[in-house]
């Protein structure tokens, strides 16, 4: 199949269908609404369902219900909407149900604005909802990568029986790029028999599956949390993804940046290279698990004098960068938010002046 020109939001909707997800519940919010609009037209064509909830709180529990029944299900929203879904995310994670959540981030906090932002890094990687839980978080930098990550998210959610979040900024949702779709993935969740409440007559086993997030016995709850922790440790071991840029030779600065922000950094790195200043970049493709080891090794390379976390937020990912680097070199932050996106020229100036300090 040749390439088509799609808006990120449309491509995300189509990718979910190609991944065999025929259940979509959502509530409109800028800059994500085109997913709902696209799927309102497209889901009926493939025998799927799009149901708009009365709020994001309701949508969160519609996802929980469908996931608990073993259906492949997903939702999309933007920052304030994800806040409202966070309670359900905590419940779904505790009950170990697979689901995919897409957050097309806008400026916050509060109602904020409708322009692109990466202000939900903490929310996605460190909670949002209550309790000891983690989401597997992937951050695309292009429309094509958004397609690939959405398609990868469903099998990963099922493998770990845990929600997967795709964290894109508003630009990922709104910009248009040519995309190609990989082969369809129309399989059923393979491990459904072990956990889904599909009715005793529909399964090979003879004990009922129970989907719940209530554990009144403290020993049981501690054991359940240990089981969840073991799962997050497996993710840390097996699911780290990142992309390195300009790291073959020596470099004086290491940039860590994700999503569309990393594309601005690439342009800046190319300009700095022309001036004779070598700057490398690690772009985390998974934000949880975070590419700690790769960043630590890159920062520890001889000649690397500085690491900079460049974000469309006020210093969130920088905490993970510092934690990863463990003092091997100084760590700085640069960022803007609210819809202001740092320009390549700005990053060139910032890197130069940080080096002179």
């Amino acid at each position: 199949m040749g390439k088509v020109l799609m808006k990120g939001n449309e491509a995300i909707g189509e990718a979910a269908i190609r991944a065999g997800c025929l259940n979509y519940f959502a509530y409109p919010i800028t800059p994500q609404s085109e997913v709902a609009e696209y799927l309102a037209r497209r889901m009926p064509e493939v025998g799927g369902v799009f149901l708009q909830g009365e709020s994001e709180v309701a949508v969160g529990y519609m996802i929980f219900g469908a996931a608990g029944c073993g259906a492949r299900v997903f939702t999309t929203s933007s920052s304030p909407g994800i806040s409202l879904m966070s309670e359900a995310l905590s419940y779904i994670t505790c009950a170990q149900c697979p689901a995919v959540f897409v957050n097309i981030m806008r400026g916050g906090p509060g109602l904020g604005g409708i322009l692109p932002s990466q202000g939900d890094y903490f929310q996605a990687t460190k909670g949002g909802g209550h309790g000891d839980y983690r989401l597997l978080v992937m951050a695309p930098a292009s429309v094509q990568e958004a397609v690939e990550m959405v398609m990868a998210a469903f099998p990963l959610a099922e493998k770990y029986r845990n929600p997967v979040m795709i964290l894109g900024d508003g630009l990922i949702g709104q910009m248009m790029e040519p995309v190609a779709f990989p082969e369809d993935l129309l399989s059923e969740p393979a491990n459904k028999d072990d956990w889904a409440t599909t009715g005793i007559g529909n399964r090979s086993g003879d004990t009922p599956n129970v989907v719940k997030s209530l554990f009144l016995d403290p020993v049981q709850l501690n054991n359940h949390n240990l089981l969840l922790k073991a799962k997050y440790d497996r993710m840390r071991r097996d699911e780290v993804r990142y992309e390195a840029y300009n790291m073959d030779g020596d470099y004086r600065v290491l940039i860590v940046s994700y999503g569309t922000m990393s594309r601005v950094c690439r342009t800046a790195i190319d300009s700095l290279k022309e001036e004779g200043l070598e700057v490398a970049m690690i772009r985390p493709q998974t934000l949880f698990p975070f590419p700690e080891k790769a960043i630590r090794e890159a920062a520890g390379k001889e000649g690397c004098r500085l690491a900079v976390s460049i974000e469309m937020s006020m210093g969130q990912m920088v905490e993970d960068v510092e934690r990863s680097i463990q003092g091997r070199c100084p760590v700085e932050w640069y960022g803007k938010c609210g819809g202001e996106v740092p320009t390549p020229e700005e990053i060139v100036d910032v890197v130069r002046s940080m080096l002179q300090k």
Partner: protein
């Protein structure tokens, strides 16, 4: 070699089309091209449904080229609210030599036109539908025609012609343009509506050859770009050197 066909538009030109068909990029480049011949060109940003990549993003460029731009009031420029300034109907009532309306996508975006019916009354209107066959839903003649009916119903105005805007962003090749021209010509025959013009990236115009097309070609210099790319510097085609261009800043 024959001289390039010129785009001839006057009065009120309404640009409609499906989401992401390229209306805004066409409207901006059309305004810049027409400004070279017309004493006064005005653009109205009527996109009440799209949150990003709107004509307002090119407001400084258009101003620098002495093109009048009608926008929502400044505090609402980045709102996802359907703000319709009273200046819009005033401008439609007195369109001058050329007033281009850049309308939002699909029937939803075109709905605003119906509310301006009083202002349109008594004027001849060119309503041109932009089509890119590389977009979902408008990759067939039937798809474009279905979109046309939806837009006409919502707008309470008839489409009078097509703009062929076949492209794949940075991956656009001469083949994309030639295949897109074939598609737009077929659409024109099937619908009985003229193909007003097609577009091509300025960098490719020289390699295409004017003889290939029976309609004018609007060169596109991309202005609505993501933050890691630079907008193309506006140039005017130089008739003395085929494919050459003169920088006008």
């Amino acid at each position: 070699m024959r001289a390039p066909l010129a785009i001839q538009l006057q009065g009120i030109v309404v640009i409609v089309g499906n989401y992401g068909s390229g209306k805004t990029e066409v409207a901006i480049n059309l305004a810049l091209a027409c400004r070279r011949a017309e004493a006064h060109v005005r653009v109205i940003d009527l996109d009440l449904v799209n949150p990003y990549f709107r004509t307002r993003e090119a407001r400084y460029l258009l101003k620098a080229h002495d093109i009048e731009l009608i926008l929502p009031p400044a505090p609402y420029l980045h709102a996802d609210l359907p703000v319709l300034s009273p200046a819009v109907s005033g401008a439609i009532r007195s369109p001058g030599p050329l007033t281009i309306l850049d309308v939002g996508g699909d029937d939803v975006g075109a709905t605003v036109l119906a509310s301006l019916a009083d202002a349109f009354r008594g004027h001849t209107i060119d309503m041109l539908q932009v089509v890119n066959p590389n977009r979902p839903n408008t990759d067939s003649v039937a798809g474009c025609q279905a979109m046309r009916i939806e837009i006409e119903t919502a707008a309470q105005l008839a489409v009078t012609g097509w703009i062929g805007n076949a492209h794949l962003m940075e991956e656009t090749s001469p083949d994309t343009i030639v295949a897109g021209y074939g598609f737009a010509s077929e659409l024109s025959r099937a619908s009985g509506l003229p193909l007003s013009f097609i577009t091509a990236p300025m960098a490719l115009v020289g390699s295409l050859g004017d003889e290939a097309f029976d309609c004018p070609v609007l060169p596109i210099q991309r202005q609505l770009v993501p933050p890691w790319l630079l907008a193309e510097k506006i140039t005017v085609p130089d008739s003395r050197t085929p494919g050459g261009a003169t920088d006008i800043g």
